[in-house]
Amino acid sequence: MTESVIGPDTRDAELERPLVDAALENTWATASGFWSALATVDHKIIGRRYILTAFAFLALGGVLAILMRLQLARPEARLIGPDRYNQIFTMHGANMMFLFAVPVMEAMAVYLVPLMVGTRNIAFPRLNAFSYWIYLAGGLLLWVSFVLDMGPDVGWFAYVPLSGPQYGAGKRADIWAQMITFTELSALAVAVEIVVTVFKQRAPGMTLDRIPLFVWSMLVTAFLVILAMPSIMVASTSLILDRLVGTHFFNPAEGGDVLLWQHLFWFFGHPEVYIIFLPAVGMVSTLIVTFARRPVFGYLALVMALIATGILSFGLWVHHMFVTGLPRLGESFFTASSMAIAIPAGVQIFCWIATLWDGKPVWKTPLLFVIGFIFTFVIGGLSGVMVASVPFDAQVHDTYFVVAHFHYVLIGGSVFPLIGGIYYWFPKITGRMMSEPVGHWVFGLIFIGFNLTFFPMHILGLQGMPRRIYTYQPDMPWHGLNLFVSASAAVLAAGFLLFFIDALRSARAGLPAGANPWDAPTLEWATSSPPPSFNFARIPVVYGAYPLWEQREALSVADGLRVDRRELVVTSLVAAEPEARESSPRNSIWPLWAAITTTVMLIWSIFSPWAVVWGSIPVAIALIGWFWPKRVPEDEA
């Protein structure tokens, strides 16, 4: 029907609305079928895959946690031996940090940022497809190795000399190091896409002070990724070099240094905490606005707090190394900077409380998780201020106190808002609502289960229970609390199980959502649920930070774009004034080939340095295929 009317250079303004949609669908849609699914570059399809994969890794990591709790429930348990236990806690940490926490936040951004800024696809959509395949390959590498009893067993931060050539025999530490390369490569790719999408593809009129706070948080996060992740890539690469070709970066006998590893790791590792936390902060700001029914209190303060947290996060890493015998003056500096980060965190907390205070809160499930977040994160923040103090840290270092602290910060500070965010955006992604009554149960089980599981670990730590022990003797005073923690972990696990069941059931049988079920103010709710392949039939034009509340009669839009090629609007960095009608790449199978060849090269290079030479040739061929122009309208100009 459409082909007869649509020729080259047909503009949307020339067509009636139903025809515009049909023509755009024709241009943007991903056909059904296996090969189309592999070739798609639609940010929504890739984002959905990313989210599902990340939650699958969450479930797997959760199973490992349950195994550890079973083992620790009583003294001298024989369920898991020491070698397997070493692999399990390493896998749990590495999986949760590198395969769940960072990717799931980037995944949410891959899905949401283009919709929230009012554009039709993420910048560099083929790179986006590539990043997903690389992430999947890294995850499979880690888990297949674990199943083959080759899983890394050196802790999620793989300290040398334990992970070095002298003590880390076999390929276990290399698997860890190369998994890092995979996940960081994909994270860096997504970070570049987000920066450019936010800088250059915002809807006309979306000036800097009108950017949704979740988008701001992802922009700051993307810069943290760009500046922090090279450090871990340099670290893991030098570790592989030490192990494979005999360099001496971490060998004190030949002028290397083991603490160099810790510096490199934590120069990445501390910003990593904020790479996980800042997106959650953005989600909280978004959810609070919608459910408090008023604009956020202190928009500027919140944005400044995001940026300040991002900058400060690079000045904290040494507080992970207080017991390594560094100079006292250095330690004092890092104590002060660690405490300073409480200031932007406090600013945010007070802005959220003020927004809720002055609003008319609607107590739906997403808001419950926000309240759970504020409560839990404040506790985690307080124990953070405690361990920022050198004498206290020296006492509790490597004990369960630290385990309690970082689970409060990471689960309380990040997973709670994420689950709230899933309840909030699920209708947009699937077109259906999740269950409100089940959601209250999920919240109750997770919140209570979490606190009962992790609060006693503070006490266990103060009682001297070390981290990473596979069992303990009956004469230690830890048995009762450990049993209690393990039983509580079952409650927590039940909460997550119920969440997964609710999500699966609602995706098929939930109530239809409509475009904007929460009466939310940001642009992702201006289009249908789930959104069409082209996101917006006409590009929105905005005049404030809350366009859907400010333009209740009719949404202002722009037209004049072509419907026969994938076209979107590039706008200026600050004022978001339209600059070009840029084309957006079509689906392509080449990113998958590039990912496969890269995977072969990276895994091969665990075994031979020549892999980098010979393996890079197929990578180069795949990249040339990727970028070589084709006879399609997108490559015209």
């Binding site: 890539m233 001496h248 970066f249 240094d257 590039v570 009608r581 100009a637």
Partner: protein
């Protein structure tokens, strides 16, 4: 949701150059990533140097000649690189074609003295930590040159096809020139590190 058309975008160009182009920003972002990587390896160099009683560790300083020749070639290459970029700005396809051939040659040229540079370091990567870090610095930058060279060769082939007469290609050429400036700029601190810090 009802819509009200308030703006007409039909007269916008199909592709913007420099800061109006998403690839320009993407290139900048990748330069930031790679620049951070180089800065970190240089930081490792100084970190290891600060721990060592003597520097270089049990090795004579590197010979100056090959590295200096590379540096001279790289710095000279900035002139044709600048010209190619401005020809791309003027969308002068004939000059861009010549310029890209020249830049391809200037991408290959530094690799020849570079091959001698590794031997001129006077230390092996597995001798000690000093050897490890200078080989890594040199190896990283060699990878940098080769990556950009492959990019330049493919783009050179492309400007000789029918795809060459496309505003998008001129943008690609400009981005490629910008990246080459970065390859040269990244080398200068590495050159200083490898060859001159040890002579201070």
């Amino acid at each position: 949701m009802r819509e009200r058309v308030v703006a007409d975008l039909s007269r916008l160009p199909l592709h913007g150059l420099r800061s109006a182009s998403v690839t320009w920003w993407g290139t900048l972002a990748f330069m930031l990533i790679e620049g951070t990587g180089f800065a970190l390896v240089i930081a490792i160099y100084f970190y290891l140097m600060s721990l060592a009683a003597i520097w270089p560790l049990n090795a004579p300083p590197p010979d100056l000649l090959p590295g200096t020749v590379v540096t001279i070639i790289l710095v000279i290459s900035l002139i044709p690189n600048y010209l190619v970029s401005s020809w791309a700005e003027q969308q002068d396809l004939r000059k861009v074609r010549i310029g890209m051939v020249v830049m391809s040659a200037l991408g290959i040229a530094p690799l020849i003295p570079r091959a001698f540079e590794f031997a001129a370091l006077n230390v092996k990567w597995d001798t000690n930590a000093y050897g490890s870090v200078v080989w890594t610095l040199l190896g990283l930058h060699t990878t940098h040159i080769i990556t950009d060279l492959v990019d330049t060769l493919v783009l050179t082939a492309l400007v000789f096809t029918r795809h060459g007469r496309n505003p998008r290609r001129f943008g690609d050429v400009q981005d490629n020139c910008m990246y080459w400036n970065f390859v040269v700029a990244a080398w200068l601190p590495i050159y200083g590190c490898i060859y001159w810090i040890v002579r201070l």
